[in-house]
Symmetry: C2
Subunit: 185 residues, 2 copies
């Protein structure tokens, strides 16, 4: 299956990350990204539903990993524990590309419009996790509660993982955050 230059999608993603980091998201035009990637603006919008989406390319894989890990968790694991197994699995995908994750999260932190999109992706993760728990036989209210809690742990563990000077592994960030959550009163 041929094409002009290979990996147009990857080129656009890299171009976007560079430009967003250099001059900021709002100061970067979709045409700018396309130009640096060597394609047309029209092509950009064929790959990405909108300008923000270019930063959220791997999101479905993350969610899928969480889903699979939850269904693979031991049957006797309680809901929150199973959900956290999913979080750890999702984090595992990031593990190899901490550098990229750090730059990406800096860009998002600087732009409310991108934060919105990130929150929407996290909400999708909540839904998927709740669905997976429900498939395990957890009643729906409990599943949704556990899913929300697990994604909260994901968010806070991610921040910890990203901001630590000495890069720890994601799983231990999750463990620490989860312990703090259980200690809440």
């Amino acid at each position: 299956m041929g094409r002009w230059e290979p990996d147009a999608r990857g080129r656009m993603i890299r171009a976007a990350m560079e430009l967003f980091a250099e001059r900021g998201f709002e100061q970067t035009t979709a045409g700018d990204i396309a130009e640096r990637a060597g394609v047309t603006e029209r092509t950009f919008f064929r790959y990405f539903a909108d300008k923000r989406e270019v930063l959220f390319d791997g999101s479905p894989e993350l969610v899928q990993a969480a889903h699979d890990a939850i269904l693979a968790a031991p049957a006797e694991a309680p809901p929150l524990e199973a959900a956290l197994a999913g979080i750890v699995a999702a984090g595992g995908i990031l593990e190899g590309r901490r550098d990229h994750a750090v730059r990406r999260s800096r860009i998002i932190a600087a732009t409310p419009s991108l934060q919105e999109r990130e929150l929407l992706k996290l909400a999708a993760m909540v839904d998927t996790i709740a669905k997976a728990l429900h498939e395990r036989g957890v009643d729906e209210p409990t599943a949704r509660l556990a899913a929300h809690s697990a994604v909260t742990v994901f968010q806070l563990a991610f921040e910890r993982w990203v901001s630590a000077a000495e890069p720890p592994d994601f799983a231990s960030c999750v463990a620490e955050t989860a312990a703090a959550l259980r200690a809440l009163r």
Copy 2:
């Protein structure tokens, strides 16, 4: 301090809710809303930062109520309990306008772009609650964890409150959801 017709903001909000309910958010242009409200599109954008914002007018008051209630909670209340007091206070503002809240939430549920904005507002609530807890002397990681948990309770309690056939009071929805959260293991 006079003006043409009074309450331009209110007219635009009502016009937007009507139109969004009638034909949907994306099928409604900013010009449509302005026209029905008897103003210009330009005026619409002077009142609201963007087309979505017209549905989130009372948001700061909600957040402020939560903040104040948290600072007013008994000093010996543990973090999560104080945060939940804030949630109940925020819910109290909605109490009198359940009808409006229901219609609004239906519109938002039908539009991803509006869900994004809602999630951003909830994130702002998380930040404010965490800040309030921190002012009470709670250490920051715990404060953020409790804030996230409290807002999760808000979301799920709100859904319960909105979807119940026989309208219960918001506070008891919060109590039930919070109990389920504490039962999570």
